[in-house]
Structure formats: C-alpha cells, structure tokens
Symmetry: C2
Subunit: 324 residues, 2 copies
C-alpha cells in the first residue's frame, strides 16, 4: 500500500518521463516550464491512492493520474492570464515570461495533452473514465467563469459561492479519486462514495484557503496576509460577515468593498476587526468541520477494510490541520 | 449513399441537437454564438462521407463528426484572439463581442466539449479514434505556433511553409476522413490512404486560399483583394517569388516587406506585378495540381468500388475549382 508521500514521489518521477514534443519549441517550452515548477501533486497522488484501495497494480493509473495533473496545470496557466496574476509558485507566470499568445496556445495544447494521456486508460474502462474527466473539466471552466462573474458584482450569496468553489476546486479532487477507484476496478457505488468524500474534502480545502489568507501566519503560508480583503474577493468569510452584520457593520464593510482609495493596512485591520467581532473565524472553522465530517461519512460508507482507508483518513486530516 | 450537400445538411441539423449547458450563460452563450454562425461544415461532412464509404450506418459517426466541427470552431475562436482578428464569417469575433477572458474560457470549454463528443464513438474503436484526434489536435496547435512565429521573421523557407500549412490546415481534414473511415469499420490501410488523400487535398486547399487572396475576384470571394500582401504574410506566393526573383526584384519585394509607411494600393499593385513577371500564379497552380494529383492517387489506391468513391472525387474537384 502506498502512503501519500510515496504516491506523490511516484507521480513526480513519472511526470518527468512523459513525452513532450521538441518542436515548435515556442509552444512546448512553456509546457515543460509549467510541469517542472513542482507543486504538491495532490490530485494525481489521489488517483494513485484511490486505485491502490482496490488493486495493487497502480501502473494502469499512472498516465491518467498525470493527465489530471497536466489538466490542473493547464487551468492554472489560463487562469493566470484571465486573472492577470504575474506569479505562480513564486516564479513568473507563463503569460509574463513567454507572452500572452504563447500562453493561450500552450495552455490549449496542454489541455489536449491531458486528454491524450487520459486515453491511455485501459480500454474496458476508457469510455467511463473519459466521461468523468470531460464532465469534470467542463465544470472547472464553469467554476472559473462564476469566479470571474463575482468580480463585477458587489455581493454574492453563500449558495452561489459554495457552487463556485465546488465547480472550480472540489470536483477535480473528487474526480481524481473516482477515476483512480474505477481504474482500480471498484464498483460504481464505491467510486461514487469516494467522489463524495473528495468533493466535501475539496470544499473544506477551499474554505481553509480563505481562512488562511486572512488569519494565517504569513511566515508559514509564505503569502501576504489579507490579500483577499484588499482585492475585494467575495470569500466565504466576507459573505458570512455581510450575512450576519448589523446595519452599521454592513455599511462599513460595503464602504471598504467600494473604496477606490484606501490605506492597505487600515482596510485589512478594519475588516478583520469586524470579522473578529462577528466570530467569522469560528463560523468558518465550523463550516469546514461540517464538510470534513461529511467527507469522512462518505469514506466510512466505502466497502473496503478499515486499514486500507487509513491513508485517505491521514490525507484528510493533513488537509484539515494544514497551516499553509 | 450520401452526397456532400446531404452530409452537410445532416451535420447542420445534428449540431442544433447537441446539449450545451445553460449556465453560466456568460460561458456558454459564446459557444452557441460560434456554432450558430454556420460555415460550410466541410470537416464533419467528410467524417460522414468517409464512414459511408464503408458502412451504411453513419449514425455512429454523427457525434464524432460534430466533435471535429466543435474543435475546428474552438481553434478559430482562439486564433482570432491571437491574430487580433475582429471579424469571423462577417460577424464580430467572440473576443470582440464578449471580451477576451470569456473568449479564452469559452474556447477552453469548447475544446473539452469536442473531446466529450468524440468520447461517444463506439467502445471498440474509441481508443484508436481518440488517439488520431488528440494527435491531430496537438498538430493544429503546432501549426498555429509556426504561423505566429513567421510573423516575426522576414523570410520563411518553402519547406517550413509547407510544414506549417500541413499542421495548421491539412491534418484536420485528413483526420476527419480517417476517423470517419475507422468508424465505418475500414481497415487500417484504407484509413491511412484516406488520410493521405485528405492531407494532400488540404495542402491544395490552403494554396488555393493563398492564390485567391491575391488573384481572386473580390466580388466572388467576398474578401478584399491583396490583404496577404498588405499584411506581409509569408504565403506560398511570396516565398516562391523571393525564391526565383532577380536581385533587383528581391530587393523590391524586401523593400515592401519592411516598409513601415506605404500606399496600400501601390504596394498590392507593385508586388502583384512582380508575381506576374515571375509567373507565380502559374507556378502555384502547378503546385496545387501536383497536390491534387497526389490526393487522387491515394484515393485510387483505396480498396473500394469506384462508384462509391464518386462523392469524394466530386468533393476534390469542387475544392479545386472553387473561386471563393
């Protein structure tokens, strides 16, 4: 049985072996650049762990696992163009380093490469795997579109926000587990239970991200504190705060959300103070815990011996207790 | 047996039936817009004609055929962003009408939709079909990258140019025929012969495009004459001209290729005059004829009764004699 670090290591090695054409170098150099940047390789590792739950033979899951990682990196590449993000994993984003046209086209070819790698799934299961993969891939685009839509509105409902993060973040984690399970020969029911486990874990993961942006220790997260507040991001924290604020607090929050000129530190301090008064941190932690519990409920339903689930329980607990 | 217009009609009707999600509307409205713009539906019609060569049951080829058309329209959508083209089929391009971010993301989702539609190929042949499709899709990106590279250099070799149009244009026409044949139950050899037929026809098609831009009748083509010359496009005509020009003619061509300020009509007239002196039109027509002959040679090799090939021969002859 694989541990998470072992699965991550397996993926990291395998990514180096996939064939990427040499020419035209302008197209494929950015692909190499993106794939060599590292990252935690969580999603492909989950494909391996899920496959391993049902079958010792994880070789058949290697290419599909890498496909998920290539797809994930493609979405980051194009998201960085759309969001005008200049840095990715501490390095210049592709559109900054290679230009926007190359970034669009390199992303396009990565998306196709992902589909081509997924096509290396065993024939008997190929259709089902591609069905899950392409459906999920479309949903990720839908989530990104919703996220972009949120930029041009002042407020977002909790329901809209939860749908957005489900699509943008949670379903790919869920699909990684489901595809791994199917490749390992699981029943449809078990694959579905793992999907739900992954989906709720993904929701918890994203809310944790929101929390860390405002309340994390910048020395540990490696990111500036409060950027979501400065950028007027409609995070779970902000949505909750607006939902339970007094008239005066709501007015102040809206003032900061619409302020064109402001002192960065003052804005962070003032908004965080309202969050503190409204116990937004505790509310968010409670929501995270609820998702975590729902995730585990689905994992427990899974028809496998308890000791084989240990690694996924460890993984969930690692995600829950992360401080970066 | 289907005629080309019947196949085009079948596709046009079928495209209207594919399911495109409603929400988020910002993402999927551009997809509907692009697919409702029409176009000749040549590539999907070729899937149908090729399938029909081997099997009367073309239903199994309908979704894969639409997949090819959706993919083709995705490439046009993203190419228009990269090339800053403002019009497509006489209407505003997606990035002009809906904004650049939406154009990137709608293109992304169309590429995934194409893969999802292709996944509706029959299970026994799915892996082979997806292999041809994804390989071809990568090549189309490579062709677009080469085309973009050509913009920043003064001259391009004939070989480089022919490789570019093979990748950007010819292989998708070739793959449409090959996929159709495979779906119809053809042998690998027959599918390969049809691929070669389509590839050489695609090369002839693109050279014809180059020719029409300079020598076509704008009243018939519906396009301005000489835009390739104005835009310093490295077309087959220009490459041939540079290759066989005298020192003085070459100097004049390079003068026009590097001129920053010029009179549009004078530039077109002067370059066309050199083309005329060097018999570039006749040389290009000879090259087109050579590709056409190679295409037909491959079609004749195909192990099917002559009368069943009639429609593809008609199609080739229609492409050759088109004046728009």
């Amino acid at each position: 049985m694989f541990t998470l670090p072992e699965a991550q290591h397996l993926i990291e090695n395998h990514i180096q072996t996939i064939s990427i054409p040499e020419a035209p170098s302008e197209l494929y150099e950015p692909v190499r650049y993106v794939l060599s940047m590292g990252g935690k390789r969580i999603r492909p590792a989950l494909v391996i762990l899920a496959c391993d739950l049902f079958s010792g033979a994880v070789e058949s899951a290697l290419m599909p696992a890498v496909a998920i990682e290539v797809f994930h990196n493609f979405t980051l590449l194009h998201d960085d163009i759309m969001d005008r993000s200049e840095l990715r994993r501490g390095k210049p984003a592709v559109h900054v380093k290679f230009g926007e046209n190359v970034a669009i086209l390199s992303g396009d070819v990565m998306s196709i490469m992902a589909s081509r790698l997924m096509n290396q799934s065993p024939g008997v299961i190929l259709n089902v795997v591609q069905d899950v993969f392409t459906k999920t891939a479309m949903q990720v685009c839908e989530g990104q579109q919703m996220d972009m839509n949120f930029e041009s509105v002042l407020t977002v409902s909790e329901e809209e926000y939860l749908t957005m993060i489900e699509l943008k973040t949670a379903v790919l984690i869920a699909a990684s587990l489901k595809i791994g399970a199917l490749l390992g020969g699981s029943s449809q029911k078990d694959a579905e239970d793992l999907y739900e486990f992954g989906k709720y874990l993904g929701m918890a993961f994203q809310l944790q991200d929101d929390l860390l942006d405002t309340f994390g220790d910048p020395d540990i997260t490696g990111k500036k504190q409060g950027t979501d507040i400065v950028d007027n991001k409609k995070t779970y924290l902000m949505i909750e705060a607006l939902g339970c604020a007094s008239a005066a607090q709501r007015k102040e929050l809206l003032k900061w959300l619409t302020a064109r000129e402001f002192n960065r530190e003052e804005k962070i301090r003032s908004v965080t103070l309202i969050f503190d008064t409204l116990k937004i941190r505790e509310r968010t932690e409670k929501k995270i815990r609820a998702y975590y519990d729902r995730a585990l409920t689905n994992l427990h339903k899974l028809n496998r011996p308890g000791e084989r689930k240990t690694e996924l329980i460890n993984f969930a607990s690692y995600l829950m207790n992360r401080n970066r």
